[in-house]
């Protein structure tokens, strides 16, 4: 199964981490189910109840700008999100994605080509994303960064180092 099919949740530009995961929960919620339940609470109240494992987010410019809170990534990981495709990412958010093993894929203009509920195809072997019939190359990551992603995140990679 080289090519996989994913349902898209489509959002706009400059979506900040406060609306992805509100700051008031950052020191009190520890359970994965609880963190997942508040995903996108102040952006799209329907998301947390309707997202399904394997779904993807397709967004505009600067997805995840703002605070460094990692739950803005893990709340999506815990919901089984497969990838985030965006025109660009907040810098810390991009790193948090890599470190959680969630693939951040930079594709300019993607969010303008589809609507929430439409399908995105991901071809990992050809390193392509297919949106509305158009194929887009996944931009390559530096090798050391790709290795973290492929290990499943930074914890998994460091476990290999400390635990052998």
């Amino acid at each position: 199964m080289a090519i996989t099919t994913h349902r898209a949740w489509v959002y706009g530009d400059d979506v900040n981490t406060d609306v992805i995961f509100p700051g008031k929960y950052t020191y009190t919620l520890k359970d994965k189910t609880d963190i997942a339940a508040h995903a996108l609470e102040d952006l799209d109240p329907s998301f947390a109840s309707q997202v399904q494992p394997g779904d993807v987010i397709v967004a505009g410019r600067n997805w995840g700008m703002g605070s460094s809170r990692e739950q803005a990534v893990t709340c999506l990981v815990y919901n089984g999100l497969r990838a985030i495709i965006a025109e660009s990412f907040g810098g810390i958010y991009f790193r948090n994605c890599i470190n959680q093993g969630l693939h951040p894929i930079v594709i300019p203009g993607a969010a303008r080509l589809l609507h929430t509920g439409d399908v995105v195809l991901i071809d990992d072997e050809a390193r392509q994303v297919i949106i509305a019939g158009q194929a887009f190359a996944m931009p390559p990551l530096p090798l050391s960064v790709q290795a973290i992603l492929e290990a499943g995140g930074l914890v998994a990679m460091l476990k290999q180092r400390f635990q052998g």
């Binding site: 400059d14 509100p22 700051g23 950052t26 020191y27 703002g66 810390i92 470190n99 959680q100 930074l154």
Partner: protein, 417 residues
């Protein structure tokens, strides 16, 4: 071959290399790493890694600041876990409830010095540019990795320059300079980039005002920010520092992606409208907007001169709506107590709270009710930021917050004095 930017020089130094270029991926060893109330969660990640001891407890700082004193049992438990970890690991620099906000405290303690590199599990770590240091925010997992290994991968960013000239008019503050930059270049203007803030206007800014700009470069999307350190910075550090340092300055022929020139002489007070820091208008366009709460505080706008600017407006008067004042540190609070600024604020009806982050991220000490509008000297007005999603937040300098609290609507300090 062109010269080197500050980011290229600082990251090469922190990686133990003779040189580095934008785009290089380096393993960087920061001079200091720090975290705050998120240290309990970082500890849980650290324990998953299988490392038993932190790599270098002498290069670690932890402050309790994001929800202090603990507002709930869950927050108190979080703090208790952090204290136990600090003791178990022998963390060298630990600051209890009430000492202040991480960025302010680490600056006051001179734990980081010009030319050094600092990483914190907080997006406003860009703050340390005011000391001529390379400051970068990281996530919790990255901080756990730093605890365990002392190093982290960094892609050396390209650099954008902000060149400030001219002289600020009275009543115009560094906050207005930063809001102008955001209004002109947007919240994504500095994405993936380092920013050098240069030009003759930088040295004219007081030491209280300087951090505002690199601090809020987080809102610009910048990875790091830098101001060339001058004699005023060296003098500030002299009595506080515990080690020697070697400042770094960019080469004149370094490569820059873009240079943005701003003459600050013509700036007027500005306001950022809900729900984004780049929705910037002239103060006069926002005048009269009803507000139910003012808040002076945070790592952006809670230093002594912010409190003093508010006191000048409020002295001998009474606020019309609630005004919350939270000094950025105990040092700020003490100075305000000694000069009478604190008494002026209290007499005018302000509520004073323990140094810390307060309601900035919606934890406690001033959560608005639905539909209630706040005007704050902080840096973020995202939807829901202060804990209530349908409560609009306006950003301005501290003097405008004070004038607005006096009138119950967004007001011009020049018209209320």
């Amino acid at each position: 071959m062109s010269g080197f930017t500050f980011a290229e020089k600082a990251l090469a130094r922190a990686a133990g290399l003779s040189q580095a270029r934008a785009g290089d991926v380096l393993d960087v060893r920061p001079d200091l790493i720090f975290s705050h109330d998120n240290s309990a969660a970082i500890r849980r990640i650290f324990e998953q890694l299988g490392a038993e001891r932190v790599h270098d407890p002498k290069r670690m700082a932890i402050t309790l600041d994001h929800a202090v004193p603990a507002p709930t049992t869950a927050h108190a438990q979080n703090h208790a876990e952090i204290r136990a970890f600090v003791q178990q690991q022998g963390i060298a620099h630990f600051y209890e409830v009430g000492r202040g906000i991480c960025h302010q405290v680490i600056s006051e303690e001179a734990l980081i010095l010009p030319g050094e590199t600092i990483m914190g599990s907080d997006s406003h770590t860009t703050h340390f540019g005011w000391l001529g240091a390379f400051g970068m925010g990281v996530g919790r997992t990255e901080m756990a990795a730093l605890w365990a290994t002392g190093e982290l991968w960094v892609r050396v960013p390209p650099t954008l320059r902000v060149r400030l000239s001219g002289t600020l008019r009275p009543g115009v503050m560094a906050k207005d300079v930063m809001l102008r930059i955001l209004g002109d270049l947007s919240v994504s203007g500095g994405q993936y980039r380092a920013v050098e803030i240069i030009g003759p206007a930088v040295s004219q800014l007081s030491l209280d005002e300087r951090p505002v700009i690199p601090n809020m470069m987080a809102e610009f999307g910048a990875m790091s920010a830098y101001m060339p350190p001058d004699q005023a910075v060296f003098d500030y550090l002299e009595a506080r520092r515990a080690r020697d340092y070697a400042p770094l300055y960019p080469d004149e022929d370094a490569d820059y992606e873009q240079t943005y020139d701003l003459d600050v002489s013509n700036l007027q007070p500005l306001v950022a409208l809900p729900h984004q820091p780049d929705q910037v208008v002239m103060l006069r366009e926002a005048l009269g907007t009803p507000i139910q709460q003012g808040f002076i505080g945070t790592c952006t706008g809670g230093r002594y001169e912010d409190l003093a600017a508010a006191a000048r407006i409020l002295r001998g008067k009474q606020v019309a709506v609630r005004l919350i004042v939270i000094p950025a540190s105990r040092e700020v609070l003490l100075r305000a107590a000694q000069t009478g600024v604190l008494a002026d604020l209290i007499a005018a009806g302000a509520s004073i709270a323990t140094p810390g982050c307060g309601p900035c991220m919606g934890n406690h000490l001033g959560i608005p009710a639905p539909q209630e509008a706040s005007i704050i000297s902080g840096s973020r007005n995202f939807k829901g930021r202060m804990g209530t999603s349908d409560a609009p937040i306006y950003l301005s300098n501290a003097a405008v917050v004070a004038a607005s609290a006096l009138c119950g609507r967004i007001s011009d300090p020049a018209e209320v004095i």
